[in-house]
Symmetry: D2
């Protein structure tokens, strides 16, 4: 697969490294609005510097990885689809439903392989949980609880452009719920507060939130988010069912244990997503290449992006109206 | 302290054993509507069989432990208060707010030491959590999450008389939230399903529930309940704050670990509350005796029973109306 | 069982409390060389103060608990046997083999129930390990590893009178090996150092030791002792076999877990044996009463004391001669 | 670094993959006595097939990785040294001291960078333990305990050629002791049995062993080996000192936890060394390249191979003579 990368920022660098080491993928070129970033990354991996136009025009490019800033995702995705390139797009496609739906329509009329960067689906531990649930290890799934906390809050400027906690942060957890319960969600109930940084509240957002979702068959799902966990990236899931419980636990650099004056001490969890999901990013590329090679569906696609965004919309509306929102009312 | 026990059932037996071993308490007598039960328990501990009237009339009785069936609690509590006896009453005082308020009025006009059996407050692990929170170990508390699951669902007849999951089971968790956050609760949001036993649904109740509470300062609290956990009694609390997280973990008979074909295996949690809270029941009696001796407040009192019941009422209303309920609206 | 206690020191007090709460045992009286100690303890539990002569002479005394200083054990044990009293004797019977054998001969000619205070056999976690091994959960036992560390070293004067680390401290571990492997031990190899307190070395003893034992069928057992573990009493056992491994883990007051700046922190283990083996001491009394009631063997008897002492003798000889010692050579 | 690989077997394949992905190393060619193996591996990574003579003769080869069968190590090492190539040699250099010393003499007269494949030194968890010990986290180190168990015993033919458990398996643990205690070892005491496979005993070897080592300052170290652990590769280290204890724990694929009928279950440890030390093999190559680039010492060198072998010799002699062996007597 000859792949072009759009976006040479933090996540673009992670993907470039994986692609460089991947036996089936060649990093053809790098494009970035900010030329020095593209140049540096291209030089590091012996790739060309490309204009974004060139990415979609060159015939010898099979696939495009969109890792640019969020507001550009939908446009690039549509251009790539029209050019017949396979797409791996960082989430979200767009921050509003209308723009997302438009992009999906282009994908429908120009069907290409399109994977969406819900990286957690590719994490070995979450994948093992999913597999065990599907195999019936806990019998019938009854409740799902997700705790997801970032190590430190973003600056208020970031928050303003992010679409808010539900669209920017909890979107991953909404996708996890959809992927793990594997049945329609019917109701969404949200609460939230600004407890960490008043500037986030002034920007009209929250930094601490709890959302409860109900599925068609009555399963109950809970998501708890915080923008700050002083001990690092907190990423846990508990699936509870008629025959038992499965728990994804935090991971750390090593399992070294110290016992002394302060007690029995193990390491803090990984600091943030780059460390925690390093393996997931590698597997995500594998999955994308496999989907492209086999002309089959990737593990997460554009439709999953739309559905997660609908849940975020519902949560936002529930927060403001103080009542549960039927997902059917989110169009 | 010369104490009379009303109720010789399961929980009455637990208390009788603790009292018998307590150096400061003498079990004077046992009363029970079901005479053989009273006779057996009285014989076992060398106590007298009493009528309930005698319990309140005899001058040499200092205190009454009310462990009879729920519908009798409020009446006995009022009689004990009028007779000037110290009271340890199993929760709840009553299943409805009006009856509970009446009982509290009697206590106001006949002030006696009155402890309510919220046993979890006396558990060493929960007490250590509370202490650490108060001492500021996690900085400012931001979220509280409680998971509470029974090993097996009660029969539907029990459910009918119980007042429902919120009043019968989650009432303990409501009290834990109140005790641990130590500030007014403002809003309650509830969801629930009947996923385990259809007979419970036919009796008009749920067996799986999630409730989210908001405090006056914006803290978020979550409670997850299930009537069945095949692995035993699941009793966990997670307090999260600006400087860290505290977690109460399940307890088991021993910490023996087996590693072999199935993996690395530790014992299941204790089966149910009698095993899990055996120590808490002993400390509860200690606290009652201390309060009586020092003429000071017990750790949990009648007012705590009323407040927990208000939260249960709010949860029930939220469940039916599909919106968050302001606690101020629950009178 | 009407029981007299000889010795009102630290361990005597522990036993007195258990006996007082035991429904089948009455603490008739307390004897102690140091009169005020006997008086205080007798007063606390409403028992009489006895001379040691009276303990053996009074007909209404069924049993004697010998918790006096080590050098007196053998004499009291012989007097009790001759008086036909059931005996629970703190370990060791004596610090040398000859004196111990003499005591055993008296027991042979005056057969009474005689239990020896190897408290660890009664600990629920060790008992669960033993049960699992016997039931074949790890297949054929191949190796056994015991780690046993005290929180702080004793004063050098104590060491001088104690018989040395092997007889005073590791004696418990020797008994654990014998109890758990349940076959003859053939060879003993020992190493040791004085690393903690030079005064212990000047007293001719060691404070850190490792001993390896071989059984008749070739199983290998390892014991590691230290007189100081800054984090508390370290009491672990690992039994390894053809079908898996069983591990006894340290216990602590609660399982509360803190996660924050220093990492993921659980409590230190219990500080010392009174906390760690509180339950074992209660069960030890139960076992003694049961043996007396049923006229059957207690879980640990006088012969077990002799055999553990032979292992200590072998270890001492191995340490000094720098070679493995055949247990058959220890008479 | 232009590197030639000698040996295209199991461990050669592991190294080839790491080298291929390493930005500073080019895999120039592969040599193997068994031609098809060399061809397959060379083809996989686009390298040339080389004769072993060519490896040492070609001027454009900077370094040689010796991963061939043990009896060839010393010869290849000497040829590489004489040819001025940097060397990464799988352990052991040879199975006897004389041959090893000869090789070291060649290295002395032809000084090249020579790293020895003691892979565990490069494992992140062991490295974190070492770092914490050096930084004084446990105060003064007093005892060290290593448990090292393979998942399944090798065939008896392998055992015959392996030099025996001490030289083939425990050699890694001897190196860990040397590396972690960082002071001379004075005495070695060994015991061992054949408990798993009688064929191993008939081949004159043992499959279960315990060795105790004493250092110059009196520290005590214990190693426990078994050729079979049904649950996988058991690799633990416990360092105990005046200020605490550090424990390396087993690692597994994921930390997913199941709680249900059988208890609270976590995954088995990794099955064997390729999974457990995957990261260590990568870091080992990094360290070799760094040493070559900086002309400095690698983390483990040829002298470390000799010293570990002396400990194995001492253990063997101790096993047969039933006494501790002074390391000074092993020449």
């Amino acid at each position: 697969m000859r792949l072009a990368l759009i976006g040479a920022g933090r996540i673009g660098k992670v993907h470039a490294q994986t692609i460089d080491a991947h036996p089936e993928v060649t990093l053809v070129g790098v494009a970035d609005f900010h030329a020095p970033a593209a140049e540096a990354l291209a030089a590091q991996y012996g790739a060309r510097i490309l204009s974004t136009d060139a990415v979609f025009e060159e015939a010898n490019i099979d696939a495009v990885l969109i890792a640019s800033s969020t507001p550009t995702h939908a446009d690039y995705l549509e251009q790539a689809a029209r050019a017949g390139k396979a797409i791996l797009c960082e989430k979200p496609i767009a921050l509003d439903l209308a723009r997302t739906r438009d992009a999906l329509q282009v994908l429908e009329s120009h069907p290409v392989i399109c994977a969406l960067g819900f990286n957690r689906r590719h994490d070995p531990q979450f994948a093992a949980l999913k597999k065990a649930v599907v195999e019936g290890r806990i019998g019938s799934l009854e409740t799902l609880s997700i705790i997801s906390r970032d190590p430190a809050p973003p600056p208020a400027e970031y928050v303003l452009a992010s679409g808010g906690l539900f669209r920017d942060m909890m979107i991953h957890d909404f996708d996890m719920v959809r992927w793990l319960v594997d049945e329609p969600i019917t109701y969404v109930q949200a609460t939230g507060s600004c407890l960490i940084d008043p500037a986030i509240g002034e920007a009209g957002d929250i930094d601490t939130a709890m959302v409860t979702l109900t599925t068609a068959s009555g399963r109950l799902c809970h998501i708890s988010n915080s923008r700050r966990a002083c001990y690092g990236y907190d990423q846990r899931v508990e699936a509870f069912g008629s025959a038992g419980m499965l728990q994804v636990q935090n991971e750390s650099d090593t399992r070294l244990r110290f016992t002394g004056e302060p007690g029995q001490v193990e390491e803090k969890p990984h600091w943030f997503f780059l460390e925690r999901y390093a393996t997931a990013y590698r597997i995500e590329i594998d999955d994308f290449v496999r989907a492209w090679r086999e002309r089959s569906a990737p593990l997460a696609g554009a439709q999953d992006g739309l559905e997660a965004l609908r849940l975020a919309e519902a949560a936002e509306r529930s927060l403001h109206e103080g009542r549960r929102i039927a997902l059917d009312d989110i169009h």
